[in-house]
């Protein structure tokens, strides 16, 4: 009996690991075709873009909590976007620092009476400001209620039909807004779209404008860069091609305001409000039997700082895993529901089995194989095969992400960067990914045990800014 269990476990871990990597490889192939087609079409469209100045109006929502070091430069960068019709709404979510004072001082804000529509319930709004200097800028000063609550307050105050959430610690490229709203102009059923998040550590920003792309020293952030490339360049492109995308980064995504309001807005009290909203929108639209698309396009770019120390990274990943658990659990009715197609029958189970419970199986697999090898109940052949599937195919997937980057954007333009990233793509499979899985497992366990869901405060350096500061971000990239 024990032998049969051991054999069954060996087969399970091997098949699970292989299956996971095969799905990733499938997504890479899908992304490769999609990205090539997309790049060619974008190149053509850019011939027209030169002459176009009619655009869909967008409300850019910037939730801010204790962002005194960076908020002025973020707003300045948003004011410089190459876009004709947009407003910026900064929501100061009860910061305990001088965020609101900095805004008042730097943008000539004057208080106006609060008279906006409370389409979504939020914590109390204390004051609303407009800028004498920049008519497109408004600021809401409210009591602390979390990021989702701040975004809901922003939605209440928004005056345009599209809303774009941008993290207060992020920098948009000047043409990013123009690009990210494009799906709404060509697809009447588009309800959500997201762009790529890139890691800014090691790059340089002056007055809110990215002036040089670079890489930070050390391997930790480089590993994260490879992870982001994997997540954005094939993960999201692949799922988007199947209209089964279950996460758009809260750091940079656009939605139709009315649909978000009808679906109840961002859910407060969750850790992954961005993912939860996307999954809920899927559920909501399918329940309404309305055609819709939620897409991802790779060229609108938002730059953000990644944790540069292990403790912050751990906090972030634990939080992300809890957010994933919450999002899936809160919208579990999508799972195998009739009429949900690829989303309910493939993407949701994939997220559940491989993303949510993946760390559990992965870590259990490593423990089982290594212990078995030492004690003797796992043969070296099985162990070798397991590591080949887990680590070897992992290397292949990571370097493929680098290839996708190279055929599309090649943003890291110095050959030395390429070499360093290739080395990172190989090395991240030996230790880094396993540590990340361990932290994700911690997140999973904490979520299952219903541990406290408050925001963590990872320390950031903002060394890429001319004026450095420390700030925190609460979104899942």
């Amino acid at each position: 009996m024990a032998v049969k269990i051991i054999v069954a476990l060996q087969i399970f871990f091997l098949i699970y690991t292989l299956l996971l990597q095969v799905v990733y490889l499938g997504l890479i192939i899908l992304a490769l075709f999609t990205i090539r087609r997309y790049m060619e079409r974008t190149r053509l469209e850019d011939l027209i873009e030169i002459f176009s100045d009619f655009e869909l109006p967008v409300s850019v929502l910037v939730p801010a909590y204790n962002e005194e070091q960076i908020i002025v430069s973020t707003v300045r960068s948003l004011l410089n976007l190459k876009y004709s019709s947009y407003e910026i709404i900064v929501i100061n979510d009860g910061s305990s620092d001088t965020t609101i004072d900095k805004l008042i001082e730097n943008f000539s804000l004057v208080e106006v009476p609060e008279a906006y529509a409370r389409r979504l319930p939020t914590a109390k709004v204390r004051r609303v400001f407009i800028s004498r200097q920049y008519p497109r800028l408004r600021v809401i000063d409210k009591e602390n209620g979390g990021k989702a609550d701040a975004l809901n307050a922003g939605i209440n105050a928004s005056r345009f039909p599209l809303i774009c959430s941008v993290d207060a610690d992020s920098i948009l490229q000047s043409d990013s807004l123009k690009r990210v709203v494009k799906p709404f102009a060509v697809e009447p059923n588009a309800i959500g779209n997201g762009g790529t998040i890139r890691i800014i550590n090691g790059s340089q920003v002056e007055d809110g404008v990215l002036t040089r792309v670079g890489l930070p020293p050390g391997f930790l952030v480089k590993f994260e860069i490879i992870e982001y490339l994997r997540a954005f360049l094939f993960g999201r492109i692949g799922w988007s091609a199947l209209n089964a995308l279950m996460v758009l980064s809260g750091a940079f995504s656009v939605f139709k305001r009315q649909v978000v309001v009808d679906a109840g807005g961002y859910r407060t009290g969750t850790l992954g409000e961005d993912m939860e909203l996307v999954v809920r929108l899927h559920s909501f639209m399918r329940r309404q039997r309305k055609p819709y698309t939620i897409t991802f396009i790779p060229d609108p770019i938002c730059w953000t700082e990644a944790p540069s120390d292990l403790n912050s990274l751990k906090q972030q990943r634990v939080r992300w895993q809890k957010g994933l658990g919450e999002s899936l659990a809160l919208n579990r009715d999508l799972l195998f529901r009739r009429g949900t197609g690829i989303l309910g029958w493939f993407a949701f189970p994939f997220m559940l089995i491989f993303e949510l419970f993946g760390p559990l199986v992965e870590i259990a697999g490593y423990i089982f194989v290594i212990t078995g090898l030492i004690i003797g109940f796992v043969s070296w052949q099985v162990a070798a095969l397991f590591f080949l599937f887990a680590v070897g195919l992992g290397v292949l997937i990571s370097v493929s992400a680098l290839l996708l980057e190279e055929v599309s954007f090649h943003i890291y333009n110095r050959p030395a960067y390429l070499v360093r990233l290739f080395v990172a793509a190989v090395l991240e499979n030996f230790g880094y990914r396993q540590i990340i899985s361990l932290w994700r497992l911690k997140g999973l366990v904490e979520w299952l045990l219903g541990r406290d869901s408050r925001w963590g405060k990872p320390s950031r350096t903002a060394a890429w800014q001319k004026q450095s500061g420390i700030y925190d971000s609460t979104s899942q990239k």
Binding site: A2, V3, K4, I6, V7, Q10, E40, R41, R43, L44, E45, L47, I48, I50, F51, S52, D53, F54, E55, L56, V110, V112, P113, E114, A115, Y116, A117, R119, V128, I130, R132, P135, K182, A185, V186, G376, F377, V378, S379, Q381, V382, A384, L385, L388, F389, G392, L393, V395, L396, V399, S400, L402, L403, E406, V407, H410, P415, L418, F422, V426
Partner: protein, 364 residues
């Protein structure tokens, strides 16, 4: 090795399987590295080369803006031609008048039309797009039928570039062909379509737009009504009035009012006023917005009444309209505010007053 005894066939093959998988992973990883290095080297070379070429083309083209007869002909290889075509087109998009004629003459002399004619049929997707842009900017009629075919049947960007080329080649002849395509093809962004309709010209599009608007499906009609503001006001008013009836589909009604807001049309104001009590709030919002734009002194009470509408957007547009009325003084609006009994109406009016004060300190 208990497992080994249970699955002998499997384990007998494992060493071979390991070797094969390991070799395959190693091979593919190295192959990907090779591809990355190759792509990077090629891209860098291309970028450097094209940058240098572009600088040369820009200098040459700038030198020939005034006079199309170059002091010495510019020699370039076949490989360099597409980048020159790009540079030439970029210049063409930015200039008008005599200098445009000079550049067209130069384009023909450089045989850009030959390149474009060839690439239109046999080039890559990008080359075909660039070819149409070039033929359009040159005003080359030789490929009219092929470009017309693409315009009518291709709903991608290529189709749009074809429409654009036709308009550039011969606006008059292109209008009957292109306008229906632009009206019906909702897969192109409205701003692209509006831009091209604008380029064709208000007088030219009016008869087609008036006729085609009757044929479009209810689904795309609201989008098409947005284009009405592109035709002269008097004709626009006539078209809009056809849709401004209370029994009309609410989405269409809202779109017609939106078009009226853009194009103006005092004549339709009585019809607009009738819609202020429409049960569908987007209609009321648009009606109030039109009224805010066109209101006379007598209409102030109507706008004031809309401040107590149940919908925030209606109240907001009413307040915005009141505050922006050209004859509305600071003192007059304050007096009006005192008349508003509805709390929400007073609040929104106060907000709009304060906003106007902030943006327009000279407002008295």
């Amino acid at each position: 090795m208990e497992g080994t005894r249970v699955m002998p066939v499997f384990y007998n093959h494992v060493p071979a399987l390991i070797s094969i998988v390991a070799a395959a992973i190693g091979f593919f990883a190295l192959a990907i590295l090779g591809m990355i290095v190759y792509i990077r080297a090629r891209t860098e070379r291309q970028t450097r080369r094209e940058k240098a070429w572009m600088e040369r083309w820009y200098a040459y083209l700038a030198g020939n803006l005034v006079d199309a007869s170059p002091p010495r002909p510019l020699a370039f290889s076949r490989r360099q031609l597409p980048s020159f075509v790009m540079a030439w087109n970029r210049f063409m998009e930015d200039i008008t008048g005599e200098t445009e004629a000079n550049l067209i003459e130069l384009g023909y002399r450089m045989k850009l039309h030959i390149w474009a004619q060839k690439k239109l049929r046999s080039g890559s997707l990008f080359e075909r797009g660039l070819a149409m842009l070039t033929l359009g900017n040159l005003g080359d009629r030789s490929q009219w039928s092929e470009i017309s075919r693409i315009a009518q049947f291709d709903d991608s960007v290529l189709g749009y570039l074809a429409c654009r080329a036709l308009v550039r080649i011969d606006t008059h002849q292109a209008a009957p062909l292109v306008i229906p395509v632009l009206i019906h093809r909702s897969t192109w962004p409205a701003e692209w379509r509006a831009m091209l309709l604008k380029e064709i010209g208000a007088e030219a599009i009016e008869p087609f737009l008036s006729a085609e608007i009757e044929k479009v499906s209810a689904e795309i009609l609201p989008g098409v009504l947005d284009f009405i503001s592109l035709i002269p006001e008097s004709q626009a008013t006539a078209v809009i009035s056809r849709f401004l009836t209370p029994d009309q589909d609410p989405e269409v009604l809202a779109a017609a009012l939106r078009a009226l807001k853009r194009s103006g049309g005092q004549k339709l104001l009585p019809r607009v006023k009738e819609l202020l009590r429409h049960p569908y709030w987007p209609v009321r919002v648009q009606a109030v917005a039109v009224l805010g734009n066109l209101a006379q002194r007598d209409d102030v009470s109507l706008l004031l009444g809309m401040l107590s509408d149940e919908n925030w957007w209606v109240r907001f547009r009413a307040a915005e309209g009141l505050v922006k009325l050209p004859f509305m003084t600071r003192e007059a609006i304050e007096a009006l505010k005192q008349q508003v009994e509805d709390r929400y109406g007073r609040d929104i009016l106060e907000e709009c007053i304060r906003e106007r004060e902030a943006y327009d300190p000279a407002w008295q």
